[in-house]
Symmetry: C2
């Protein structure tokens, strides 16, 4: 009778009633909101109860418990199921009032679940397939923590990650990518459940999705089981078996369900996927459900009998804030709370004992669980110098390894371009990259393969718990392949570091498919992510420092393929590194200025590898035209656009001609640019040619920029 025992008798009458109550809650709240997706909650109500009542290990009083089992609703549109379960399971964040505010402004019950560990929502889902890939990330984290910290008699980390997927999740390529990698890594702490109701928004699956999903997962090295929601004991037995089974394979339960179960005409139809059921269907449901007695008690036996009166009752209910209560269902779900608490306390005691017995490891673990930036690392990043000319991707690789030396929780990987983006952790001189593999989770590099999208979402999964610090990396042009995951990192404010190299036409010979043009500004318009495009050694180190200090969302570090000069300190500025970093944090700073000037005649600004071009051109203008110049480096446009106006005007003196040099498209938005701006950008696709030639072709030479300036002034 617990969620942790082995000999469990399922109380079928109580489960059935509770399932119908969950169905009713979804129907009422969705009807009230006049929008939502009842299909999944109605089809998976029993499954949800099995999980939260009999299978999952959790403590609603400490939702963030690091060794809890995770449940991820990858089919996020079925959010009412999750909210209902969290309410019934006793999570403080979810009351009936919260459920009644489904899809309303400011509620914690939005249309799709939004990441909130405090309330038991493990991740934001909705965009299909993402949640499943997040779950793969959580499972990797589980493996890492287990292999690094578990000791004999101290199985501190043995949690299981569950993900509920719909047909849509399976159709998305990201789920294939994530599933393939999960199979390769042998993540046997992962259980996927496929809500196989064979219906999506546009119709039954026979119009578009007829593959053999079990065989597909088998091909990827998964263990596959089948069950039918009509046979609850079997579903329970399979879930239990899959949870316990640790044989080097991730596991999937293909569960036949019926979308809209309990309804009349809309049962098993696409109509119920994504729209309220309608009063008639709700009335039908109530009259044929296990919770009919609640209505009889509340409104009289006859009221519950007559369709018209029930219909009027429902109309009235929809105007109320709080949905119908069923204390029996809540009591049933919460019967396990005591025992759950005992399991939780026992784990806490074990952790205390671990502290005694494995003091050193416990220390390390504490550093994982309570992040502080090591002061030494901070100092080193602040004073980082590389000096000689190098590509910023190379510098980034060195800085990453510097950080890795202090932060064992820093793990990540590359989508089959590790040698190119330099985003790998290894000892100096080590030739082979030590990869995380099946049973080798003490390593720190994940060979993601050419699976950018899953990489992004698995990285997000690694970040969810706020224990690991993940980085993921590929060519900047392939940011496109993983954008949906980057967006979710920004939306969830995950501390996930994206490292993108080969950032412009200077990629060269690989040609237009491999040369980012629009990506820089496409990234900059995403809310909540900071895009750093460092120009040299210290800007690269500062970008890492900012990410590690800021800890309130993702950052992208965008690096060059080609070498940039060893620029050293800005000539006109303080060599006080702290002061320089303070300016960097405002997104831009004066890199060079004609000695003694206050009011320059012209300002040249640039980001990344175009900074030296701005500097050289400025010096030409200074010399040849005897003008006073200022060069502004803009490593982070977002920070600069949020800096106080005084600082912005200090750099971009109003009224003065302002050159902006970026090998990136500012197309169409430049329509609104200040007329004083001389924009040197790229508004077509690139060319296959050596990088230098490509740069010349697009006018990125001192002569051509100088000419542009002369024409404009």
């Amino acid at each position: 009778m617990t969620n942790t025992g082995t000999n469990i008798d399922i109380n079928m009458p109580k489960l059935k009633r509770c399932a119908d109550y969950i169905r009713y809650l979804s129907l009422e709240c969705i009807e009230k909101a006049k929008s939502g997706h009842p299909g999944l909650p109605l089809g998976c109500a029993e499954l949800g109860i099995l999980l939260y009542r009999y299978i999952l290990r959790y403590n609603p009083k400490d939702p963030k418990w690091v060794n809890r089992d995770r449940f991820i609703l990858s089919a996020g549109h079925g959010s009412m199921l999750l909210y209902s379960l969290l309410y019934l399971a006793g999570y403080n964040g979810f009351s009936l009032e919260n459920l009644g505010a489904f899809r309303q402004l400011g509620s914690n019950t939005p249309g799709h679940p939004e990441y909130s560990l405090d309330e038991g929502v493990e991740t934001t889902t909705g965009p299909l397939g993402q949640g499943f890939a997040n779950a793969v990330g959580c499972a990797v984290e589980g493996k890492i923590l287990a292999q690094r910290f578990n000791e004999e008699n101290f199985e501190l980390f043995d949690y299981t990650v569950f993900a509920l997927m719909g047909d849509g999740c399976h159709m998305e390529g990201i789920s294939y990518e994530a599933g393939s990698l999960a199979g390769h890594l042998g993540l046997d702490n992962l259980v996927a459940i496929y809500d196989a109701n064979d219906v999506s928004i546009d119709g039954h699956m026979n119009i578009t999705f007829t593959e053999d999903v079990g065989k597909r997962y088998g091909a990827m090295g998964w263990h596959v089981e089948h069950a039918d929601i009509g046979n609850i004991p079997d579903v329970f037995a399979k879930l239990k078996k899959l949870k316990d089974m640790r044989q080097g394979k991730p596991k999937i339960l293909i569960l036949k369900t019926v979308i809209g179960e309990g309804l009349n005409k809309k049962r098993n139809t696409p109509d119920i996927h994504g729209a309220p059921a309608g009063i008639d269907e709700i009335v039908f449901f109530i009259r044929h459900s296990e919770i009919r007695d609640i209505f009889e008690k509340k409104y009289g036996k006859e009221a519950a009998e007559e369709e018209n009166r029930l219909s009027n009752i429902m109309e009235a209910r929809l105007r109320e804030k709080k949905p119908l209560d069923d204390s029996e269902s809540a009591a049933f779900m919460r019967e396990i709370l005591d025992e759950s608490r005992q399991v939780y306390d026992k784990w806490k005691q074990k952790l205390e004992a671990y502290k005694e017995k494995h003091a050193e490891k416990h220390d390390v673990l504490t550093k994982y669980l309570e992040f502080t930036l090591p002061e030494k690392l901070q100092t080193k990043l602040l004073n980082y110098e590389h000096g000689k000319p190098d590509a910023t991707r190379g510098i980034s690789g060195r800085v990453l390894n510097l950080c890795a030396g202090y932060l064992p929780q820093l793990v990540g990987g590359v989508a089959d371009l590790a040698g190119s983006t330099k985003a790998n952790i290894k000892e100096p001189g080590e030739k082979e990259i030590p990869y995380i593999q099946r049973d080798m989770f003490f390593n720190r590099n994940i060979a993601f393969g050419v699976r950018e999208h899953a990489m992004g979402a698995i990285g997000n999964g690694l970040a969810l718990n706020n224990v690991m610090i993940p980085f993921t990396s590929t060519f900047f042009t392939f940011f496109d392949y993983m954008k949906p995951a980057v967006r979710l990192a920004a939306l969830m404010k995950l501390n996930h570091l994206f490292i993108y190299s080969h950032d412009s036409i200077y990629v060269g010979e690989d040609g237009p498919t491999h040369q980012p043009i629009e990506h820089l500004n496409a990234l900059r318009v995403i809310p909540g992510i900071y895009a750093f495009r460092p120009a040299n050694d210290f800007e690269t180190a500062f970008s890492y420092l900012y990410f590690l200090q800021h800890r309130n969302g993702p950052a992208a570090i965008i690096t060059s393929r080609q070498k940039v000069p060893g620029t050293g300190y800005p000539t006109s500025n303080s060599t006080d590194r702290q002061e320089l970093y303070n300016q960097f944090k405002k997104g831009a700073y004066v890199f060079y200025e004609t000695a003694g000037t206050n009011e320059p005649d012209i300002i040249l600004s640039a980001s990344g590898s175009e900074l030296p071009l701005a500097l050289e051109t400025a010096k030409l203008v200074e010399e040849k035209d005897n003008k006073q110049v200022r060069v502004v480096s803009i490593p982070c446009m977002e920070l600069f656009s949020k800096a106080d106006e005084g600082y912005r005007e200090q750099l971009f003196t109003p009224g003065k001609p302002l050159v902006l040099i970026e090998a990136a498209s500012h197309r169409s938005v430049n329509l609104f640019y200040d007329p004083r701006i001389i924009l040197v950008d790229i508004e077509s696709f690139g060319v296959s040619a050596p990088g230098k030639t490509a740069g010349e072709h697009f006018g990125f030479t001192v002569d051509k920029v100088y000419q542009r300036i002369k024409e404009a002034l």
Copy 2:
């Protein structure tokens, strides 16, 4: 001895020599360019010859022949293989000089193949998995053309589409999505060839990719064969079998190859995947190859014997423009030209006979092959009126169907949101959408399933031939899932129409995951695509008209979920529709103006569903503050930013306050905006709430915009 016969003896000695010549060409040209990917060309040289010499049906003198077999190099980094084959097969576009300019500015031999039907390059590849999905699109087109036009004894369309995929292609989610749909549709005119060399950039496949690819394709309903490149007769037999087999299943040949075949130390290593082999390896190759005699003849027997001398010879060769010639290999490959020509002529004669026998169908076919915009349709679009309030997605659906009535080649579909985006073709009153299905290719809607990425690339595949006019559609927020395909459509200038609905926070209850914020400007910075965000009925119709007239690249039509007023004609403007369209083509036009004004006190501009807000606010300013106002509608920012300066200034009178209202992020780039601009945009993620509430929350009300204006002035 032909590429079309049935009893074929393969001339093994000639094939071997030609294969080594192809290897050598790749080695020399890549070495000369100091960059490139020799691994695949070396591993697949024999395969390429089998295809172009014995399997494919084509006519190098008419590369666009509509019934040619297609060969798509999905693993685009192996471009030197394709260029070598096209040169040897006798395509005019490829000479030895062209090959010698590999990866140089302006050459037609760029790092990755770039779409050029005139030269035999079927599509742009490089971003992995895209080419394969394009091939699926080509196969769908083949089925459509066959089912619509073939008649007894007139099998006009029976071409086969081949796609060569690497390990990387298979790891990408897009290939899974496309493969799953291809299996569902039973595309038995499609043959994938998997270059299974088990090596990618970062290492051998055992570090990341260990699934059973054959089983995976089996699960998706494909016919699977295996072969080893070491057994050429077997590879040939399998290719022939798969080409001929039409049993309702797409087919894949899993071909074991050796990356870098023919080299010494780098054979079968990741080192040869993406970097020049180096002189030593080339020297080793020559000495052990079938083309050693060329060197012996050219440079003397001893020269070819001695490594040092060969090394010097190679160094010298690399400074030459033209790579080594081998007339024997070219002659061997071109032996089939005569018979190819006969096959081609026969088809042309058949087409003539078809014209006699099936005159009506021939007429229709001609309209497919030689597009002209029907005048009636043009007139109807020009004068389109819907009148009453409706969402622009609904108007878009009507306009799409209007176009469909005149353009049978218009086909497309939606990623499981057909009821929402309204992008489906059906008769008025028809309830069910008539879907293209296995053997039902006379229909016009493809149920893409929740496979946005493959949808985009399959749509590209449908557009490649410039015969069909494809449209694809989903929610605007899921543009992210298909961005890599949109980029390629823009790069290739494909006439592919992207229809995105639910374009802003007005999506409402579905919440931030489903509300586009950054997408509008992320789309606008892509070169070569026109993003239209129509505000009403005629702007929607004009967007379609522009796309159909322009015919030089993709367009995106971005529509609202919520209703917009039935705005009718702009009050201050001509009711001459042609004149209005002329203005629309400049991207923006005056929608309203205070009567008699020349110099407005303030200009309010907006796109899409924010136009009514601009109008109402303007009228408030006009009335309350007695100011002269102008309202500018900007349906297409890209067109407006390219309009002549005079027109731009006519609308945005310099020096006047300019309000820009868009429920979209202009974050960070607004740093460079003209100080006169009052920007009403959204720079955070959305909220789950009814659309109207969300709009109010973000300040999109007349009162709040009015207040912003008052504060700024």
